[in-house]
Symmetry: C2
Subunit: 292 residues, 2 copies
């Protein structure tokens, strides 16, 4: 057994960019996993996928203030850098990029990247400005870390659509790979925000996964969208979880499914609140032939 190579922390964007460009100039494929820290096995799976597909892996840790609303959990969002570094050591990360807000938002910063289309419904309605904050910081991060490919988790499905839309529209020279959601033993999607849950809340939180599983079964039986959406809601209502949305839509656009004709790939989306903690989850629905 050999000791893991110690992962190097880099704060300055210019130094980070230079390191990535030097690796790529030497013919190395570089993968990038942008995160807000508070890393869990979901993040670890992204890093392992990146390490399997690339020669060098960069993980950024930056709790981006502009993607939090004024009443949201920016201040209490967990900061666990020492534990994050320890988690990353054995997973194959070469660099951790840890900029400070002043490195990412220069004095007088006045530029936002605003995405419409897939950013508009669901999280976009409930969290105004959230996706502009995400798109802006990801755009900047992609210039700090000019990797070949970036890895995002499917748990934040709408975010992956927003990032892919921005990359396409602005011609950002990076591939986007979306990786499967990692779950706890009972099916709860891993999330840094799960740490907020009390013991009772943690038990009830499995209702999001239960609703999505029920939705998939109904979907495969040929049920219509309204019935499938109701199936998502039922376990949340049974456990007293406030529902922000529970919907079945086109997976690539988040638009309503057509009422007739070929059915595009579909996804079930759910968001709910347990006390002051907000959780989201989703499930891609398998293709089916129309039953009516």
């Amino acid at each position: 057994m050999t000791a893991a190579v110690k992962v190097a922390q880099i704060r300055a964007p210019a130094a980070m960019r230079a390191a990535v460009l030097e690796a790529r100039a030497a013919g190395r494929r570089v993968g990038f996993v942008p995160t807000m820290g508070a890393l869990h096995e979901g993040h670890a799976s992204l890093v392992e996928r990146a390490a399997a597909e690339c020669d060098d892996v960069v993980v950024s840790i930056f709790v981006n203030p502009t993607q939090f609303g004024p009443t949201e959990d920016f201040a209490r969002y967990p900061r666990t850098l020492a534990a994050d570094a320890a988690l990353l050591e054995p997973r194959g990360a070469r660099w951790i990029f840890v900029p400070e807000p002043a490195d990412m938002y220069p004095p007088g910063a006045a530029t936002r990247v605003v995405v419409d289309g897939p950013a508009r419904p669901f999280e976009g309605e409930i969290r105004p400005g959230h996706f502009a904050g995400v798109a802006t910081v990801v755009c900047r991060l992609f210039h700090c870390v000019p990797a070949d490919v970036a890895y995002f988790g499917a748990k934040d499905w709408q975010q992956t659509l927003v990032v892919k839309r921005m990359v396409c529209d602005l011609g950002l020279p990076i591939e986007i790979t979306v990786c499967p959601t990692v779950r706890e033993a009972d099916g709860l999607a891993m999330s840094s925000r799960n740490a907020y849950l009390g013991v009772d809340e943690r038990q009830r939180a499995v209702a999001l996964h239960e609703g999505l599983c029920a939705a998939e079964r109904l979907w495969q039986s040929g049920a219509d969208v309204a019935a499938v959406e109701l199936a998502i809601r039922q376990p949340l209502e049974a456990r007293g979880i406030a529902i922000d949305y529970a919907a079945v839509v086109a997976a690539e656009t988040l638009e309503p499914l057509p009422v007739a004709g070929a059915e595009p790939p579909a996804i079930a989306l759910v968001a709910g609140r347990l006390g002051s903690t907000r959780l989201i989850d989703n499930r891609l629905l398998p293709p089916r032939s129309r039953t009516r």
Copy 2:
């Protein structure tokens, strides 16, 4: 005398990007002059500056629909590609990048780069959405043409501030060089829109330059901002030019000059309309010590 090397036209963004990256990988410095075509000696001066400072020069020609308002001159904006190519041949351009709108705006495009700060006053107020259109297309162009340095004309001073702000905020890896305005013999700033002017309008248009020259003289004599702004207006009013704005502000922020204390670098800005033609001009004002 040797014949000029024929400048190569490239339409596909991927091919353009590959050509620039190949040149840079070979150690060549690449300069970029983004334009909307209808090239004149102002553009030529940018290309010559780029050719003097770089090994290879790319000129893009793209009449960007998103920076025109619904009532503006997108449809009648001059398209003169053959003449443009002939002008560029002897000035040292290696490539002309001539994308079509579908190359720049993929199907379903939904991303805008929105700049606040220097984009807010003056042109930003009069042309809502204009600078978002500029910032978005320039951001995308900078990914299509990943040059070392891009050249912009000082005639569109506010645009240069918006582009520099965006480059700083998003961390775009490119230098911005601003080059002096080129003028006709009577002082009219060169502009593709001068072609719209009738003979009488063309004669009256010199009033913008006259107003700015008068402003500079008054400024150097120690006059206050209001008096200098009045001096800009007078020749325009005398020639029946409708004034959109005539202002003296801080050159780097476009904010009002402080009423006391050290005076930052200042600029006089003017915009006026002759019939359906809108012209802008500006003049950097020399530093002076406060007279009161």
